[in-house]
Symmetry: C2
Subunit: 365 residues, 2 copies
Amino acid sequence: MDRFHAVIPAGGVGTRLWPLSRAGAPKFLHDLTGSGTTLIRSTYERLAPLSGTDVMVVTGEAHREAVVGQIPELGAEDLVLEPSPKDSAAAIGLAAAILHRRDPEIIMGSFAADHVIAPVDDFREAVSEAVAAAAGGKIVTIGITPTHPSTGFGYIRQGEKYHVPGAPNAHEVIEFVEKPDEDMAEKYVASGNYVWNAGMFVAPVALMLKHLAEAEPELHAGLTEIAAAWGTEVQEETLQRVWPQLPKTAIDYAVAEPAAAAGDVAVIPGNFTWDDVGDFAAIARLNPAAQQESMTVLGPEPRVYSEDASGVVVSETKRVVALIGVENIVVVDTEDALLVTTTDHAQSVKKAVEALKEKGDSDVL
Amino acid sequence: MDRFHAVIPAGGVGTRLWPLSRAGAPKFLHDLTGSGTTLIRSTYERLAPLSGTDVMVVTGEAHREAVVGQIPELGAEDLVLEPSPKDSAAAIGLAAAILHRRDPEIIMGSFAADHVIAPVDDFREAVSEAVAAAAGGKIVTIGITPTHPSTGFGYIRQGEKYHVPGAPNAHEVIEFVEKPDEDMAEKYVASGNYVWNAGMFVAPVALMLKHLAEAEPELHAGLTEIAAAWGTEVQEETLQRVWPQLPKTAIDYAVAEPAAAAGDVAVIPGNFTWDDVGDFAAIARLNPAAQQESMTVLGPEPRVYSEDASGVVVSETKRVVALIGVENIVVVDTEDALLVTTTDHAQSVKKAVEALKEKGDSDVL
């Protein structure tokens, strides 16, 4: 575990959680579980006991202040600010390149800033196994044992056991597969050979960069140039010059899938519960303590009255919200925007946000 | 028609239209039909061609400024301000008593400030008939020919034809009956002998006061005392002293029902459409022009986005309102309160307002 350095890519607005999440206040800066802490703070606290002060955050320049406010423990050298969003391969790749220059023996572990995990001890145990497996020379993903045939997640197909000290549950990965339709999802789950892809990667930085160089040489070259300038006088100049030119792609395509095809990926099945808080239906699920009769009520000072109603209310204003005779309703009340939908339509919020952008309502996005 | 003096009792908050209607901004001060004029202004304009300047408004002291703003034509002697709400018998009775002192031959016609009627010509014709019938010595109500077996209105049972010059459609009234259940409503409508009670009364003021004196002697005595002081130096003193002691009852119980039992009531069936805008389902019905695809959208500057949604949105704020996958929804968005319900539950809003009052949320009522 001495080699372990946690990386938290904090990007992504969480469009399906609009109008709560938005460009200026993305999902990871919210407390969506009623825990009293933001998702990024919870992510940090989940990792710190494993990595000590070795935690790096990669986020947008606009979120510098908010992130430092949430994680004052963060060292200046461990706050990486992207000039613009460039998807996960650039974010995680830059972290790998910077860490590699610091110490080529580092095993990095990348965990999204906006997921919810419990119990934390089971998660930490899986990470420890993943680090052990990574030390054996693999890119290791932590998959989630499916609880139902979800069509909302990608899946990971496991192969043979991967025998390596300290990782008794590790398996080879045969392939990563895209979000399936319902029939396929049922087959995956019934087979027992598939776990959910939770986007968690633990890997020697050298191995990450090797695969990145093979699959995305241009991206790798750019990141290497930025990393070489990191901490020097030309850091900012180099970043501002090189970053805008980098190709935009996901770590799955740039590293995970080609590495799996090359036999270089292992998986640790995680038996903890995991939620990517993908929409407001998840918010209802994740806040059992906020139930007021059949409503889940969230917000700093909610004034909610409900009668024959169920669902979720997120009240960010001081307004009285009265709900009568609406089932599985989702009401999100913010200063400048109001969403009314149902838990069944929670996934459609993204489409609405795109339509609002086209209509010219970007001031509330 | 020379004897005719219109009276507009403008009381009642319209609780079922909360949070649009509320104590400070009751229903009659809103434009609920997209006509560009408030309900009370429309009521005035409907009556003025019949009565000329002979229009009296009875309303709460708090609404003086708003009412004068809406009806600048109103003479000072025709604006009657109630120190507190005392229900319809006191309001209409005071108008009758004041008018009786002005001229005992006056035929008053009382029409609520917050109803919607079309076409106006048919209404005016019915009022003319009612005035003729009233001149024959009756309290005359204008009933509405039912279009469906509503359980939301009281009914009037008609008897024999009432033969009087100028009122060919007048019938005797056998009785007023309360809001029926569904079975009963269907029987009423099928019989052809029942019309809806729209609360419109046209009557010689002397006859109104005679029945009021018989059924509610205390109320009659108080109103007579106030009317005697009206326009004199002791008007305010008398009003403030006597009014709070007056019994609180509806004109239906105090006058209409006992007068019907005495054979003193006639009815003119009105073939115009009439709506008391009782709830937000009515708002949807009454605003065909505000349809945006399947939504009815009202408000000064609505910014509404809807997808797979139907129903009504009233947007009093500048917020973006996004509706996704909600059918027959009612969303009323005001600065300090938000209502989310369905057109089917529109009648339950009153109950919610009562519950909010009990909870201590009166600041938004």
